[in-house]
């Protein structure tokens, strides 16, 4: 697979810009989609956000600085898109946090393109009880197996705070799943 330096060279050359962008989308689309899907649950919402993320990447690629990694930059855009989307949802319907959680829980049970056994769904139900940012940290660490340094670059949080956040999230999710399984 093409490396990021070559991708950036192609993106910065007007004659290969669209070709380079196509390669970039192919390289990162799945990571970004799954990152967003775990947050918004619904396929259509994740699809919209993935498209918006890459359109922003194309529009702002000239502002990308070599000091950071390309994938953490794209993840940051996706994460911001996702958090804005969830905030807008809350504002549009004047929903308190609990109601947004209920909406996402409902989607977990009723949206198309979701299947799996009850144990797996229980894990996601537990995750939906977490505050959004804690859920983000948990997803990136647990599912995407990212380093704390990369997560810190994406979220703009210190590594120490991330470790504490992840520790709390694991504890809460563990308790929640255990309780559900024992009932």
């Amino acid at each position: 697979m093409i490396n990021d330096a070559s991708l950036l060279d192609k993106l910065r050359d007007p004659s290969t810009r669209h070709y380079g962008f196509n390669l970039l989308v192919r390289k990162y689309q799945q990571k970004i989609y799954w990152h967003l899907r775990k947050m918004v649950i619904d396929h259509d919402d994740a699809d919209d956000l993935t498209q918006e993320t890459f359109i922003k990447v194309f529009r702002h690629i000239d502002t990308f600085r070599e000091g950071s990694q390309l994938f953490t930059w794209i993840y940051r855009i996706a994460t911001n898109e996702c958090l804005s989307f969830l905030q807008k949802k809350k504002r549009r319907f004047f929903l308190p946090l609990g109601d947004l959680t209920n909406e996402l829980l409902y989607k977990l049970d009723h949206s198309p393109y979701i299947s799996g056994d009850e144990i797996q769904k229980s894990l996601y139900r537990a995750l939906l009880e977490l505050p959004e940012k804690q859920r983000l940290v948990f997803n990136m660490k647990y599912f995407d197996n990212m380093s704390y340094e990369d997560i810190a670059a994406i979220t703009g949080t210190s590594v120490g705070a991330l470790k504490a956040s992840y520790h709390h999230a694991v504890k809460k999710v563990g308790q929640f799943v255990s309780e559900k399984l024992n009932h």
Binding site: R26, Q30, Y33, R37, H43, F58, Y113, Q120, Y142
Partner: protein, 130 residues
């Protein structure tokens, strides 16, 4: 306790989704670029029209401004200097008075100029019919 679930996710996507997604995104990028180009072109068109209108307005206001400027310049010249200039030039006093009378007739065509003023400006004019 989560490890066994790690690689077995519950979320699915429609068939061929990731094969088609780059094409969908590319279409949107091309469309957005075209819209931005059209927007920039229309901004330039409006700016050019605004500049043209401004130039026309400036041009239309220019004669009035010139007349005002001429009056201001004339007012700043000493009367003695004007007399000296007229004496040294070939223009006769009658010509100057005649020009002044024409100006008055043109500017105030509807107004009747008193006969004594007219006689003072153009001696012998009292006998003419206006």
């Amino acid at each position: 306790m989560f490890e066994e679930q790690h690689d077995n996710d519950i979320f699915k996507v429609p068939d061929g989704y990731f094969e088609n997604l780059p094409g969908v995104i590319n279409e949107r990028v091309v469309a957005a670029t075209a819209v931005r180009r059209r927007f920039i072109k229309s901004v330039y068109a409006y700016a050019a029209a605004a500049v043209l209108i401004l130039l026309v307005l400036v041009r239309l206001n220019r004669p009035a401004m010139t007349a005002q400027d001429a009056e201001t310049i004339l007012a700043s010249i000493e009367t003695e200097e004007l007399i000296n200039y007229l004496e040294e030039s070939d223009i006769s006093v009658e010509d100057v008075l005649s020009e002044a009378a024409d100006e008055i007739f043109n500017a105030e065509a509807d107004e009747q100029i008193p006969a004594d003023v007219m006689e003072e400006l153009i001696p012998g004019s009292e006998t003419d019919t206006l």
